[in-house]
Amino acid sequence: MSFLQIDDVHKAYGQHEVLKGVSLDVERHEVVCLIGASGSGKSTLLRCVNGLEEINGGEIRIEGDTVTGAGVDLNALRRDVGIVFQSYNLFPHMSVLENVTLAPIRVGGVSKAEAEERAMGLLGSVNMQDKARSYPDMLSGGQQQRVAIVRALATQPRVLLLDEITAALDPELVGDVLEIVRELARGGLTMLLATHEMGFAKEVASQVCFLDAGSILERGPAQQIFEEPREERTQQFLSRVVKSGRL
């Protein structure tokens, strides 16, 4: 049984059907990449897995336990499933350290001292320990995104969702952030990530899914998807990405 099972998930905003039956299995310690044009539903799918959006059909299971539908403790689910957003979404009125320790203290019941010690350790691992007392507005985009990753990791999630986390960054800041994700992948963290960094996807992903207009059109090993895509729409998408200089 797979660790994360997304089973025929449907999602609509009013009349607009955004996910049209998406199924996807993620094994423990596996890294799965979602690629697809803007508006194809990548963010929506990730938000559904985290319970930020209610789904209209299908089911999502983590270790066999259904985590969608009525009666599910979403707050508990979210301790297992972390998410990092494209726009960082740090809390601007809190220092870096407060951002990172908020959830462990409030939700995890960890003491302040212990949470701060762990947070400093995590911040150290992304070279941000000397910014612990800074506020998000004082940091560059790359630094903010590194803090956002640490904030998500501080609750010790068992699967991490990454939604185009480098898309808003200046090119020279992308490398540092990707290096952290690479490190996490080496450490065996299960991850589901939407990305446009094809080179990076090739390197870390064991499986790449091409999402097209709300359904997974093609999936397979990174090598195969990028080098010999079967579907015409996948080929079109990839050639557009190549033209934009991202591959």
């Binding site: 979210r78 809390f91 601007p92 506020y135 507005d137």
Partner: protein, 364 residues
């Protein structure tokens, strides 16, 4: 059509260098305005001197006014100097330097006009105040009336202050409660949402004066236990009821102005709705609502004057007593001055808070 087609093949004409603009005309206008301002200031100073029969302070004020009105002549002179320099440089073919001199000269001329108009406005106001043989000053600013009324009025004003302070603290709490009630989620929250909505609508519809009458006169009749309450307390309750409805709207606008991604980030970390509200949304909203909140608080402070209708001895009440005793409106002007004195520092203080917060967050 490709992007290449958008590029015109025609040779672009060379740039036309911008010529220095004229200065002398503007400088002359500045001179005329400055002289007019000076004339008005002299007239006002003379009037002030004769009206006060040569008393030291009014005469000093007049002298200061004339000195201030002299100031614009300085930039005017500089503007003429630049004007000459502009022509010289232009003659030497130094276009850029000439342009700079012209710009500086026009700057000086407009500065002269700005200060001269300011001096003229002050002078005209003084002349009006002293018109009809000082009738206006006598009616509104009679010093001896102020002296007589001051001790009682400052005591009465104390009532306005503490009623406002009590009401403001209560409004902060009660308004937030209403705002949060209006934002409760789900079907379970619907009745409370509705109650909060009705409360806000009703109390924003009722004039504050009516609420004050109903509460101050009505509550002791309805609840005999309250009969011994000082009516100023009841006045504070009435103001709280009215202003909580406004402040709830201010809070609600503040809370909904926080981008949904903040809420999503908090919830994604496992925080409950209540925790998200308390740790992420409210702290950010409070910062944003300070300016509109202060506006409402200043209104509230001024509306303590309405308590006079319920016979509560506050500053306006006291001032009207003195007004009828002295047949003179100056005590009422004094009440206005009291309100001005407490309001302006608050506005400055909140500006300071906002600046400090902005500076702290951007690391300056």
């Amino acid at each position: 059509m490709s992007a290449v087609d958008l590029v015109s093949d025609e040779v672009q004409p060379g740039p036309t260098p911008s010529q220095p603009r004229g200065v002398a005309g503007l400088a002359t206008t500045g001179l005329v305005v400055a002289l007019a301002g000076l004339a008005l200031a002299v007239a006002a100073a003379l009037r002030l001197h004769s009206y006060s029969k040569g008393a030291a302070v009014p005469t000093g004020v007049g002298v200061l006014l004339v000195l201030a009105a002299l100031y614009p002549l300085l930039p005017t002179a500089r503007a003429y100097a630049r004007s000459g320099r502009r022509s010289t440089l232009l003659g030497e073919g130094q276009l850029v330097a000439s342009r700079r001199a012209a710009a500086a000269g026009r700057d000086e001329a407009t500065v002269a006009m700005g200060y001269a108009v300011g001096a003229a406005i002050v002078s005209v106001l003084l002349l009006i105040a002293l018109a009809q043989d000082g009738g206006i000053a006598q009616t509104f600013f009679a010093g001896h009336s102020w002296k007589l009324a001051f001790p009682e009025m400052i005591q009465a004003f104390w009532t306005n202050i503490w009623v406002a302070c009590v009401a403001q603290v209560l409004v902060l709490v009660f308004g937030l409660l209403l705002a949060v009630m209006r934002m409760l989620p789900g079907r379970a929250g619907r009745p409370l949402r509705l109650i909060a909505l009705i409360y806000c609508d009703v109390f924003r519809a009722i004039p504050a004066l009516v609420t004050i009458l109903l509460i101050v006169f009505g509550l002791p009749l309805a609840f005999p236990a309250l009969a011994n309450w000082p009516s100023a307390w009841l006045g504070a309750v009435a103001l709280t009821m009215t202003y909580s409805a406004y402040v709830a709207e201010v809070y609600r606008a503040g809370l909904s102005s926080i981008h949904p991604s903040q809420s999503a980030a908090a919830r994604s970390l496992g925080l409950s709705y209540a925790q998200t509200l308390r740790t992420v949304l409210v702290p950010q909203a409070v910062r944003r609502v300070i300016p509109p909140l202060l506006n409402d608080f200043i209104s509230l402070q001024k509306d303590t004057a309405l308590l006079t209708i319920a016979g509560i001895v506050e500053v306006v009440n006291a001032s009207t007593l003195w007004q009828s005793k002295l047949f003179n409106l100056s005590p009422v002007t004094l009440a206005a001055l009291f309100f001005i004195v407490v309001t302006i520092p608050q506005a400055r203080f909140v500006d300071f808070l906002i600046d400090r917060d902005a500076a702290r967050r951007s690391g300056r």
